[in-house]
């Protein structure tokens, strides 16, 4: 039985570039903040999804990576499991929320508080693409394909999903470090630790 799985499409976001399937689609200008860079990508994405503007930086980055992958491989109303990971969880929003409640005039903003969990990113993507499938968000010290590859393979081999959108989505104080990729049972580029490591480090 062939248990091989394949990388159908990927999206890499760094502080300098937005890359999809080996093509650099956007380069960040020196004067742009991370949020401004993502906003320019959103405006060029044809997403027409006003809720984007309410998301925190982590959700925006994950949303855009999924959005561009979905241009290559349909995600809408599919059995696509989501397996994400990062290092800082939702720390940027956590800090923003903590600062707003630890002042002389404390006032929690629901719009900030709602993003104080990393798996909200998975929810935003699920709502956008009408996914009712399984999802999980792991916290690791670093991008860990050694864990993710067998985990994703098991989901597909046990037919728990038809596709898996997986990877790393780290946003820390304005730094962008995202690699999301779509895995299926058929394709050309094999889903291996080595191939994912190469995608992450742009080898």
């Amino acid at each position: 039985m062939n248990n091989r799985t394949y990388i159908k499409s990927f999206c890499r976001i760094t502080n300098e570039e937005f890359i999809c399937d080996d093509v650099v689609i956007f380069e960040r200008n020196d004067s742009e903040t991370a949020d401004e860079f993502l906003k320019r990508i959103y405006q060029n994405s044809e997403a027409n999804y006003p809720k984007y503007h309410k998301m925190d930086l982590l959700c925006k980055a994950g949303f855009l990576a999924a959005e561009f992958i979905s241009k290559n491989v349909n995600l809408y109303e599919t059995e696509t499991a989501l397996v994400f990971s990062n290092r800082s969880s939702s720390l940027v929003s956590d800090e923003k929320h903590a600062l707003s409640v630890h002042t002389d005039d404390p006032s929690a903003s629901p719009a900030v508080f709602v993003y104080t969990l990393p798996n909200i990113t998975l929810g935003e993507i699920s709502i956008r693409h009408k996914l009712l499938s399984e999802n999980i968000f792991f916290i690791f010290d670093k991008f860990t394909p050694e864990f993710l590859v067998p985990y994703v393979e098991q989901i597909l081999s046990e037919n728990q999903a038809d596709k898996v959108l997986a990877g790393w989505a780290e946003v820390d104080s304005g730094n962008l470090d995202v690699l999301l990729y779509l895995i299926e049972k058929e394709g050309e580029k094999e889903h291996t630790i080595e191939n994912l490591t190469n995608l992450y480090y742009r080898k």
């Binding site: 006032s107 929690a108 719009a111």
Partner: protein, 85 residues
């Protein structure tokens, strides 16, 4: 009153991150939820916080919000009648 409706439009656009909406797009009688501006439940909570912080109005019963937050005009009417700052 028109000053207040103008102020509310600006506050709503800014605080709810409605980047694709301008003050000119918002009429005084535009429904804020549903097929109007399309606000959601988190936005409703944000509006309740805004009433408290900006106008000193604490909503004891969140159900009151349905009528108060119907349109910019209904919000302005309620604020005029109940504001403490």
């Amino acid at each position: 009153m028109s000053e207040l409706t103008q102020e509310l439009k600006e506050k709503i656009i800014t605080q709810l991150n409605l980047e694709d909406v301008s003050v000119e797009d918002l009429q005084d009688d535009t429904p804020l939820f549903g097929e109007g501006l399309g606000l959601d439940s988190i936005d409703a909570l944000e509006l309740i916080v805004m009433l408290d912080k900006s106008y000193g109005i604490k909503l004891a019963d969140p159900k009151e919000g349905r009528k108060i937050f119907e349109t910019i005009q209904t919000m302005a009417d309620y604020i005029e009648a109940n504001r403490t700052k």
